[in-house]
Symmetry: C2
Subunit: 340 residues, 2 copies
Amino acid sequence: MVTIVDVAKHAGVAPSTVSYVLTGKRPISAQTSVRVRESIQSLGYHPHAGARALASSRTNVLALVLPLREGVQLPVVMRFVTSVVSTAREQDMDVLLMTAAQGADGLRRVAGGAGADGFLLMDVGLDDERVQVVRELDRPAVLIGHPAAAAGLTCVDLDFEAAGARCVEHLAGLGHRSIGFLGAPGVVYARNTGYAQRTLAGFSTAAMRRGVVSTALPAEPRYASVHAVVRTLLRELPQMSALVVHNEAVLGWVVECLRAEGRRVPDDVTLMAICPDELAERMRLTCVRLPADVLGRCAVELLVAKLNGQQTPALTLLPPELSSRTGRAFPSGIPGKLIP
Amino acid sequence: MVTIVDVAKHAGVAPSTVSYVLTGKRPISAQTSVRVRESIQSLGYHPHAGARALASSRTNVLALVLPLREGVQLPVVMRFVTSVVSTAREQDMDVLLMTAAQGADGLRRVAGGAGADGFLLMDVGLDDERVQVVRELDRPAVLIGHPAAAAGLTCVDLDFEAAGARCVEHLAGLGHRSIGFLGAPGVVYARNTGYAQRTLAGFSTAAMRRGVVSTALPAEPRYASVHAVVRTLLRELPQMSALVVHNEAVLGWVVECLRAEGRRVPDDVTLMAICPDELAERMRLTCVRLPADVLGRCAVELLVAKLNGQQTPALTLLPPELSSRTGRAFPSGIPGKLIP
DNA sequence: CTGAAAGCGCTAACAA
DNA sequence: TTGTTAGCGCTTTCAG
C-alpha cells in the first residue's frame, strides 16, 4: 500500500507537506506543490479514509437516509439520490446509504462511530422518532421536507403552498373561474410530513383570493377511485374548466376518466399537474415542477455549510416553477388519434 | 467521545479485552464479557469506524455502484437496494453509495483509499471499462448481471434464458401452439449486459423444442410503437393465442393494443410477463418473477464470502419462478367494466 | 483466559 | 514556506 510517507520520500518533502498539499490548509510553494502532485500521480496514492478520519475527526462522508417503503415516488427519490451523490462528490464527500428501517439506533450508531459527518433525512414523518434523535446527535442534519415539529432543525423543501397557489394563479390568469383539485391518496393527508396539506391549503387560499370556485378531493391509486373522483368533481363543479392534479400515480388515468365523462383535454378541461417535469413532458402537460435534483443539491450544500460551522436558515423553501406546455395530453401517453 | 479505554476502565479490564469481546476473535470468560457489555451499554460506546479500519484494514463497508441513468427500471433497482442494505446490516456492514457516473476513477479512489472492503456493481455493460478495473483492484467484487467478458469475476443474475424458456413451457403446457414475444426496446438488445438477448434465446429455443410457432419483436416505450408491434405480431401469427411481454414499461399498454385489434385478454390471448411480481400482481398477470430482493441478498452474501477468503462460484444463476394468476388483466390497471 | 504495548496512516500543533 | 512529532482510537502480536 502506498502511504503518505512513500509520497513524501518520493517527492523529497515531509509527510505533513504532502498532507497540506492535499488539504490546502496552508500555503505551499508552486514548485513543491507540483512535485508532490507528480509523486502522488506516479505512485497512485490515495489517502487512507480511516486514517484521515481518525486524525482529523472528519470522515468526508454524509449519510443519506432514504424512505424506501412502499408508496414512495421512486422517480423522485432516484433523481434526488443522483443529485445528492454528484453534489457530494463535488464537495469531495462520499455518501453512506441508510434506510428509514435502520431507525434511530442506526443514526446513533453511525454518528457515534464516526461513520459520517452529517445526515440527510428524506421524508421524515410528523411524529418520527428520528427527529428527536437528530436533535440530540452531535452531528448536523438536514431534513428534506419539513415536519411540523421542525423547530431548531434545518429543512429544505419545495414551497408546496406556493405551488398550489401558483396553479390557481396560472389558471385564473387564463380565465378559468371553476377549478377542480385531484389530490394524493387520503392517507397521505394524514400520515405525511404535510406537503400534501400545504399544497391544498395554497390552492384553496388562492382560489378564495381570486374568487374562483373550487373543489378538492383525494384520490386512491386505482382507476375506479379516480373515475369516481372525476365524476364527483364534475357534479360539484358543473362549470369546471380546469383541473389540478397532485398525484403522479394516477395522472395518466385522469385524461381517460375525463373523456369517459364526455370532457376532452384540453378543449373542455385544462389539465395541469404538480409533478416531476419529465412526467409532465411525456404527457405534454403544463406543470409546477417537483425539483428533486435542486432539492438534492440544496440539501447537500446546506449540510456542508453546517459542517463548516456556518449558520443556515432553518427552512429553505424552493419557489415553485411553472413549465408551460400545450396541454394536449396523452392519456397514459396514448396519442389521441389511436383512441377508438 | 467515549473510547475503548473509557469502556476498559469502567469494566476494569484492558482495552484489548474490550476489543476481543466485540470482535469475538478470542475466547472471553462469560463474566468478563457480561461486565464489558454492560459498560458498553451504560457508556453508550460505539467503536470509531476509522480507527477500526486503520488498525484492522477492514472498513466493514461495501460499495454499491448503481446505474442511475435513464431507462433503468427504478422499482427493480429500489428493491435491490433495500435488500442490499438490509442484508449488509445483517453482516454488520454499511453501504457506500456510488453511481456508475463515478466511473473507473471512482472505483480506484474508493478501493485505494480504503473506503470500502468490496464492490457490488449493478448493470455492468458488455464493454464496460469498470470490468477491467475491478479485475485489477485488490478488493473483491460481485457483478449483478453477467457481461460476456466476465471470466474470472463473480456474477449473480436471474437465469434469463431459463426464464424465457419457462414462459414457453408454461404456455405450451396450457395448449398454446402460437406464441408472440414482445421484448425490450431495440437498443437494449445492443448495449446491455445481454439479459435481453438471453431471455429471447431461451424463449426461441424452447419454442423450437416444443414445436411452437413464435415471433419476437422489440418495442419502444411509446404507445404507437407497442400498437405497431402488436399489429405486426398478429399479422405474422394469425393464430397467436399467447403473448409473452419482457418490457415492464409498456406492459400496461399491451392489453389496450390487443383490445384495439379486437383481441380480448385473456379470452382471445393469454398474456404473461417477465417482470417484478408486484407489477404482475397489480395487473393480475401470470409472470416469471424478477427477484430483485433475492439478487440483492445473494450478491451481498457472495461478497461477504469472498471477503472471508472463501471460494465463490463464478456465476450464480437464480432459477426463474412462476407466479400464476388469473390473467384477467387490467389495461393500465383499469377494471374492464369501466372501459366504454 | 487476560494485559501491555506497538503500530495502522494521517493531521495539526509546534518549531524553524 | 517547510519539517518534526505527538497523538487520533483501535487491533493484534507478544507475554504472561
